[in-house]
Symmetry: C2
Subunit: 337 residues, 2 copies
């Protein structure tokens, strides 16, 4: 099966200067894949140059005149930007012309537009953002990273089902372990919603291993970590902020005077290997799970490698039939899957 | 004024082997301070050796026969361990024999016992755990880090008042800036409680600067960050877990074969300076704010330097009259302050 993806070329901090080259790298590495580049055709073609020709029908450009601004309100984007690159990319998923779309644009607008156009899967009340995170032992998947807030226990159960199905599909493992993000055995054991969610999870038939705490996320002991979107978003962004501080401190310490700079040269292979292990672009791409279509959100600041990783992620989910599997797990067919 | 502190010597992963030497270092550095070491006198004296004599009446030992286990239920500790080192240390605060106590013991038991013995300040519904965190520009203070969950908007307002008063007192700054931890301008802007707390904070007369996101914590743009205890605990522990992973990756990369080990020797001054800047022991010590007495919780795994930092923190709060100031801010005298 050929995987065909729509790319919102105009989204993100860098727009086509990142999204177009990342799409080309993806096509080079994936001979079974096709891409539709969506956005202002003049801007896209300026970044395509002569490269386009060698992919033939695997690469198409679909003009969309409008762009959703990074600070635009989600409601305004849905109502008024019907010819935006973001909207047209999602429309292509809805129409079945592509199997997934990838955007680095305005998160709120992407979630609202995707929900409006694609609608939710039956049995799922709310979509959830899920992403892989690096751990000491490989990686884990966490959701919800901020698609919604004020989750009820049954929403957390739905997140767990979707997350476990996703991981089973793309990691080819049978019964991924599921942990519930909570605050320690020694403190008051969680809020009301989490306590009730724990009961639902224990009765769910999932491979539920109980509570995990914040410091367990990066241990990598569980495959799927479930939490409310407010909590997950804070955990993710706190990690991003801390990682940025660590990089900054390392940079400062290795450039403090000439001796330190010489030391940095000696230390370079180790430092580069370290940087690579914690490079956020290797984990870029959060999937909006729970809709009748695959939508992957790239970080707005992603570079080429990062955006290409998000495209790979979308392709992986299509190849492994994630949507149909979630539909089957919920006992209902995923219509647009 | 002489500052006198009670130390729960039996708490934490290491007990008197850490708490006693840390207390001695503190006494050496603070000639105006006195300490009461609380716990099994035989254990304490085994770690005191001959050092005790040189501090004269500034150092006393108060025997307490019982120990609260790290996994004991808070309710059981309150009900049944009336002669525990933790309980006796808090009783000394209540009796006015000391002005503050420090413990590395069971967090839940410490919070429950402190609340039971000392009672809350008038005008404060719930105590909150507050700690300093390192940032790119120095440090910030965040609360609640897990004393309670399911906060209501008025609780978050009380946390903000206590946090701002604490920071004004110990940092000698007039109107510390206060931020509300939230999830981004671009996504759905926060849950119901946070939205309402924002309104209360805007009307509070505090120097409220609006929402901050998870990745803003380590930027250091605001002095006080306010959040629900569940969210704060997840953010803190997620940071601890990520920092541990970073240290582990650095260690692995600098010991991978003989060349890397030579590089590590060259890089040592820079690496050591980096480690020092992110050393958690420099920020050890979370204060349980909102009670009629100063109670500081050390991390259970703290080393000597870390535990001494927690003792310094308690002394600082006593010297700067934090309790009386919070009482005054709330319009009521802090009785046991």
């Amino acid at each position: 099966m050929r995987v065909t993806l729509a790319i919102d070329c105009m989204g993100g901090d860098h727009g086509p200067s990142v999204t177009v080259p990342a799409s080309l790298s993806f096509l080079e590495a994936n001979a079974d894949a096709a891409i539709v580049l969506v956005g202002r055709s003049a801007d896209i073609e300026a970044h395509l140059g002569t490269a386009a020709a060698r992919f033939g029908e695997r690469l198409r450009v679909r003009h969309a005149a409008e762009v959703v601004a990074m600070d635009e309100s989600p409601a305004a984007a849905v109502k008024r930007k019907k010819d935006s690159s973001m909207r047209v990319a999602i429309d292509l998923v809805k129409a079945g012309e592509v199997q997934a779309c990838v955007s680095a644009g305005n998160t709120g607008a992407l979630m609202a537009t995707a929900h409006f156009v694609l609608r939710g899967l039956p049995g799922i009340d709310r979509p959830a953002l899920v992403s892989a995170l690096p751990t000491l032992r490989g990686h884990t998947h966490m959701l919800d990273l901020g698609a919604s807030t004020d989750s009820k226990p049954e929403h957390l159960l739905q997140f767990a089902i979707m997350g476990a199905t996703l991981v089973a599909a793309i990691e080819h493992c049978d019964r991924p372990t599921v942990g519930l993000l909570n605050i320690g055995a020694e403190a008051i054991k969680g809020n009301q919603v989490v306590k009730q969610a724990g009961e639902l999870l224990r009765a769910s038939g999932l491979n539920f291993v109980g509570n995990v705490e914040g410091d367990d996320i990066y241990k990598g002991d569980v495959d799927v970590i479930v939490c409310d979107g407010f909590v997950g978003n804070v955990a993710l962004k706190t990690s991003e902020g801390l990682a940025r501080m660590v990089r900054q401190f390392l940079r400062e310490e290795f450039t403090r005077g000439p001796l330190r700079k010489i030391a940095a040269a000696f230390a370079w292979p180790a430092l580069a290997a370290f940087q690579k292990r914690v490079d956020p672009s290797r984990y870029n791409g959060a999937t909006l799970l729970g809709l009748r279509g695959v939508v992957v959100k790239s970080h707005g600041s992603a570079d080429r490698l990062g955006f290409a990783t998000a495209i790979e992620r979308a392709a992986d989910e299509v190849r492994n039939d994630v949507l149909a599997r979630i539909g089957a797990r919920l006992g209902t067919p995923a219509e647009a899957a």
